[in-house]
Symmetry: none
Subunit: 211 residues, 4 copies
Amino acid sequence: MATNALSAFEPRKTPVQARSAVTVEAICEAAIQVLLSHGADKLTTTRVAERAGVSVGTLYQYYPNKESLLAAVFEDHLNRVTMAMEAACKKAHGQPLADMLRDIVVAFVDIKMERADISVALYQVSSDIGGPAIVKKSIQRMRKAADAMLQTAPDADPLPDRLTIDVMFAAMAGVMKTMLESGASAAMVRNMRDQLVLLCQSYMAAAALGS
Amino acid sequence: MATNALSAFEPRKTPVQARSAVTVEAICEAAIQVLLSHGADKLTTTRVAERAGVSVGTLYQYYPNKESLLAAVFEDHLNRVTMAMEAACKKAHGQPLADMLRDIVVAFVDIKMERADISVALYQVSSDIGGPAIVKKSIQRMRKAADAMLQTAPDADPLPDRLTIDVMFAAMAGVMKTMLESGASAAMVRNMRDQLVLLCQSYMAAAALGS
Amino acid sequence: MATNALSAFEPRKTPVQARSAVTVEAICEAAIQVLLSHGADKLTTTRVAERAGVSVGTLYQYYPNKESLLAAVFEDHLNRVTMAMEAACKKAHGQPLADMLRDIVVAFVDIKMERADISVALYQVSSDIGGPAIVKKSIQRMRKAADAMLQTAPDADPLPDRLTIDVMFAAMAGVMKTMLESGASAAMVRNMRDQLVLLCQSYMAAAALGS
Amino acid sequence: MATNALSAFEPRKTPVQARSAVTVEAICEAAIQVLLSHGADKLTTTRVAERAGVSVGTLYQYYPNKESLLAAVFEDHLNRVTMAMEAACKKAHGQPLADMLRDIVVAFVDIKMERADISVALYQVSSDIGGPAIVKKSIQRMRKAADAMLQTAPDADPLPDRLTIDVMFAAMAGVMKTMLESGASAAMVRNMRDQLVLLCQSYMAAAALGS
DNA sequence: CATGAATGAGGTTTCATTCAT
DNA sequence: TATGAATGAAACCTCATTCAT
């Protein structure tokens, strides 16, 4: 069912030729640019095509409708974040729990800040395109990676359960979102990141005791 | 500046007569209903008026434009949440820190769940109506109430700083949002609430030590 | 099923105010004008609205889409024809069969020629709007009226069966259509009409003998 | 004038090579398939090319535009019908009038039913491509063949005039169309065919007496 | 004050056609 | 010759907003 619902947002054709790949990339990038400069409600397919330097028709060759374009951009962004998190989890295998948590928080904040503008812009369109459903898939991947990582921690005993991990990620996302939307400075972000590390570490420790 | 930007969203006239108050209430409620049943992008002023049982013209007597209506609904919801939190903070004066945190987390989760549908619905329109700005005001009030509360805690030493409190609230909001959007059951919400209590308590304790 | 399929073509709201009725009439008339002057494929809702002296939005207040507008015009025309035929049938009650047939052929040709331009124009759009289904309803009414009429004929023995009547009407329609599309002169139409009378009379007589 | 107007619909190049002939045939057949499965307004050149297993570009090598393709298909169909009728007329030379009429009605119904789907499908596009003009040419050929045939009838005296023949053909076409559009069963078609024979015979006999 | 018909700018989407490869 | 990516004019339709009644 969820799959069916999402199918309407799937890209129309996969670019096989070099020319096409460039075009698709340009369209996605243009969508982000327009989102940033005009806002979600002023984002029109015509404007995106214009900014991408192609005609509207071309845009519609690759995306069956406006929503599918935004969903693709959204998914792409989430994909980068998720992959960065997976990499961070893998890299942290075998470390003590506290170090693990520090590393993934840092990785999360870093990847988000790297394209902070996009993150903020995409919050705007999330609801129009079945954002929560896409997020859910991303969360599953992250949870899986975190699980695998935690099992290699020498001092994670007992292992945190699923709920604990989900709550931790949700807290991270929430703090990050608030921070991004408030337009925080680099220094503030650093402080916030440290707090987030502390939050995760203390919460995980407490959760271990409490269970 | 922020004030000017927001002025466009202010309601047009204050209902002084009983009849008007009823009408305004009906319109707001209708807006929520439409949001829930049709989604943000299918919400039209005509549809809202229809559902409220009045004509479009009447709607425009009370709200100068669509955004002001949505902003009013959004603000109203946030107001309820904020007031509930202020009340909870006040009520918890003088208690030990852990109890305080438990109480406000419980209050937060309860008030959000009370009209969970509205919360979810409003996430959709938040960005179109300067949501973050409205949220910021709400956060300020909550921080103020929390500050006042914490100063009466016998065991809060040192007092948590502003960043700590903000991070805590942001974490709470993030976890709550994820939970609401995942359509969690009552039982899951209870579990999540307990986790959130744990999170806040452990984080506050750790923050006190760390500073 | 047929009803459901047609429901998409139903007018959107019934005009209750005097102003509206005028508007609706203007739109229908404009649709015919555009059909005549530009042809079916050049008929756009914008053009129709322009010709009617209203805005596109107004057009869409009364018809949910282009097809429903054309279907309404089509149905209206068919209605006039059908009513004229019903009247002619009724008027011919009690006459000898040959006179009956002459009268209804004359009535048919006359009513079609009266707005010959519209008839021709509507052939163009018939298929886009479920024309055959609408026609079927009209035929049923005409068959019923013809049946009632024939039963009062002193010399119709045996009474023609349903197939015979349907074939006769189909033949009439076919001849009429060919004639209209060939842009025949008034004199040619008169001749054709006489032939059609002859055709119906001879066919009915033969059918009576043959059964 | 008519010639000029039609010139835009002429095929672009005559397929001289075997490969081309196959391609053209595939395109025509695909056009019919699309017409049947999607309807006239959903028929796009791209879709036709797809179904034919060639690229749009190739389609445009053989037909200068969409209309010329449809016109070609239409004309081709009419051609088959006309040729079948000419053959039937020729074959009936020298027979009594009643037999002649029976034979050509049977031939007409048979050839139409042979590809009933195409007939119905083509009614849809007839108006977009100057259908009546194409039909007129076909009718002329059929009239000529019928004339030649009738002159060999031992019992056709006086010979029916042009109007009579035209009316007869128009009646045949009208009855056939109504039948096809109503989706009649094979049995119904047989009955209708018998009626049509009767109609033509009686009408021709009456026309002979009346003149 | 309430109504709801009218407005029309502007958004999304389609599709016949071309042309560089 | 065949391909199919690109084009962009133009179609359909929506909906926030106004204003005469």
